[in-house]
């Protein structure tokens, strides 16, 4: 069948009529959209491109379909295996395999945590922040949403409800009263379930395994995704974690946990390894520490906008040294770690 076809194809199979030009364009869109924090303009242009012709749309559908195969391998471990196999192809033996492992061992929790879900799912989210970036978004009803580092949300306001989808990261929501005669409920959706706001100021953080909610004003109701899972009402000053099936017992929420909205990370007697895991969310390079000092306690306020400065201050307080680990790759820091000071030889 010819390549220039009427829009209602479908029955002919999606592949029969993708033109080489459409294929090349689709690939360029695919690559552009994967850049961190693509401009909203880009996304609009991309949607317009898709809508402009059925051939464009078919080409894009192909990318999404094949993309699902790629998703099956999207993990640092799979990547390490694939790269190790390539190392065999390049006949360079073990060294390369070990290099691939560097990505696995030190990349975990860094870029990976951000991209754990479908890469373009985040790329095309309504609002998003890059690593180390923060942003305040005011929604049509006056609701204020602050996005922390490496976060993305979709806004789905409809006739029956006001829904935010937290794709990745952390947000602080200050809801506004809905001006409509019949006020619509306000919901935040995470991978594990929904959080229903009852006139309120609260944070939601999407983790790898669970989601965490802390309430500072008013109350929220947590509804895990699984049918029949119990609902929990959380009041001001409380926080809880939830999975798809259950909600943890409420604990008291620390006001300090919202310090990120001012570009600070506030710690109160926090273990050094936990602290670095938190600070690492704001860093393009993974952070780690020598196991010998992991138990040291950290207290104080550290800037998240300038991770190097925070590390400097931290190492001074604890009497540690900052090391940039570049082995395996040579060119780029694979991680920054805090370690006991080495005595001069």
């Amino acid at each position: 069948m010819n390549t220039a076809v009427a829009p209602q194809d479908g029955a002919n199979g999606p592949d029969a009529s993708i033109t080489p030009a459409a294929a090349r364009e689709a690939v360029q869109w695919f690559l552009d959209l994967q850049a961190p924090g693509p401009a909203p303009r880009l996304r609009e242009d991309w949607l317009r491109w898709r809508a402009a012709s059925a051939v464009h749309e078919r080409a894009w559908q192909r990318i999404e379909r094949v993309g699902r195969t790629l998703q099956g391998g999207a993990s640092p471990f799979a990547s390490a295996v694939a790269q190790a196999k390539l190392a065999g192809e390049a006949a360079r033996g073990r060294r390369r395999a070990v290099q691939a492992l560097a990505v696995l061992a030190f990349g975990a929790g860094g870029a990976w945590a951000v991209h754990q879900r479908t890469p373009w799912r985040e790329a095309v989210a309504d609002h998003r922040t890059a690593v180390g970036e923060r942003r305040v978004v005011t929604l049509p009803d006056g609701t204020r949403v602050e996005l922390n580092t490496a976060s993305a949300i979709d806004v789905r306001y409809g006739a029956a409800e006001r829904r935010l989808v937290l794709v990745v990261g952390e947000i602080l929501v200050t809801t506004a009263r809905d001006a409509r005669p019949a006020p619509r409920p306000f919901l935040v959706e995470t991978a594990q379930g929904e959080v229903r706001a009852l006139g309120t100021r609260f944070t939601v953080r999407q983790g790898a395994q669970d989601a965490r909610v802390a309430v500072y004003d008013g109350a929220v109701e947590i509804q895990p995704r699984s049918p029949g899972a119990p609902v929990l009402r959380l009041h001001a000053g409380q926080q809880a974690r939830f999975s798809a099936t259950e909600v943890s017992a409420p604990e008291s929420a620390a006001q300090a946990d919202t310090a990120w909205t001012h570009g600070a990370l506030v710690a109160l007697s926090m273990r050094l390894d936990d602290f670095l895991a938190e600070l690492g969310r704001y860093s393009g390079t993974p952070l780690a520490c020598d196991p010998a000092v992991a138990h040291l306690r950290v207290s104080g306020s550290y800037p998240t906008d300038d991770v190097a400065k925070a590390l400097e201050a931290l190492s001074a307080v604890l009497g540690l040294e900052v090391r940039t680990v570049t082995r395996f790759w040579g060119r780029q820091a694979v991680r920054i770690e805090l370690a006991p000071r080495t005595p001069p030889v």
Binding site: A82, G88, L104
Partner: protein, 175 residues
């Protein structure tokens, strides 16, 4: 003439099997150096013929069987290399993080498919694409990691994505 009629097809395959199965096994054994594996792959080759709707070229039966068997062989090597890479990678991983047997099967399956999609590309283009799709690295990060310019990374990714998504449309040859 290529034929797709089911009954005729069955007969064709039976004919091929009767006349050339022994020859195919010997051909595979020369490449594999292992008669058990050769028997398995000869079996796989005929299974592939039965399962597919692709045309049967029976005028040159041995040339045709060789073409199909070459594909089966490529898949076999691909899987073997991935298994090896998998075990090698696993040895460096803390026990707690080791994938379960089910995960292992799924993962190898996915990796096999991805590997086949990228077949024929130069190694740096493959690496760039894996970094971008499996690790979620940005083009800037890949440039740093591979020690090349961003322009080069973009070229690699374009090449890889065009092959991966549109090999047929753009006439990219896959082995």
């Amino acid at each position: 003439m290529p034929t797709t009629d089911t009954t005729l097809r069955q007969q064709c395959i039976e004919g091929l099997y009767a006349d050339h199965h022994g020859w195919l096994k010997a051909w595979l054994r020369r490449r594999l150096g292992d008669s058990f594996a050769a028997a398995d792959l000869a079996h796989d080759t005929f299974l592939r013929l039965l399962g597919r709707t692709e045309a049967l070229a029976v005028e040159e039966p041995r040339a045709f069987l060789t073409t199909v068997a070459t594909r089966v062989l490529a898949n076999h090597w691909r899987r073997e290399q991935l298994e090896r890479a998998y075990l090698e990678t696993l040895r460096h991983l803390p026990q707690a993080l080791a994938p379960s047997p089910e995960e292992r099967a799924l993962l190898l399956e996915a990796l096999c498919e991805i590997d086949a999609l990228l077949d024929g590309l130069p190694v740096p283009a493959k690496r760039a694409f894996l970094f971008s799709q499996l690790d979620g690295l940005t083009q800037v990060q890949i440039a740093e990691r591979l020690g090349v310019t961003e322009r080069t990374v973009r070229r690699y990714l374009t090449q890889a994505a065009e092959t991966c998504f549109f090999a047929d449309v753009l006439g990219r040859a896959r082995a």
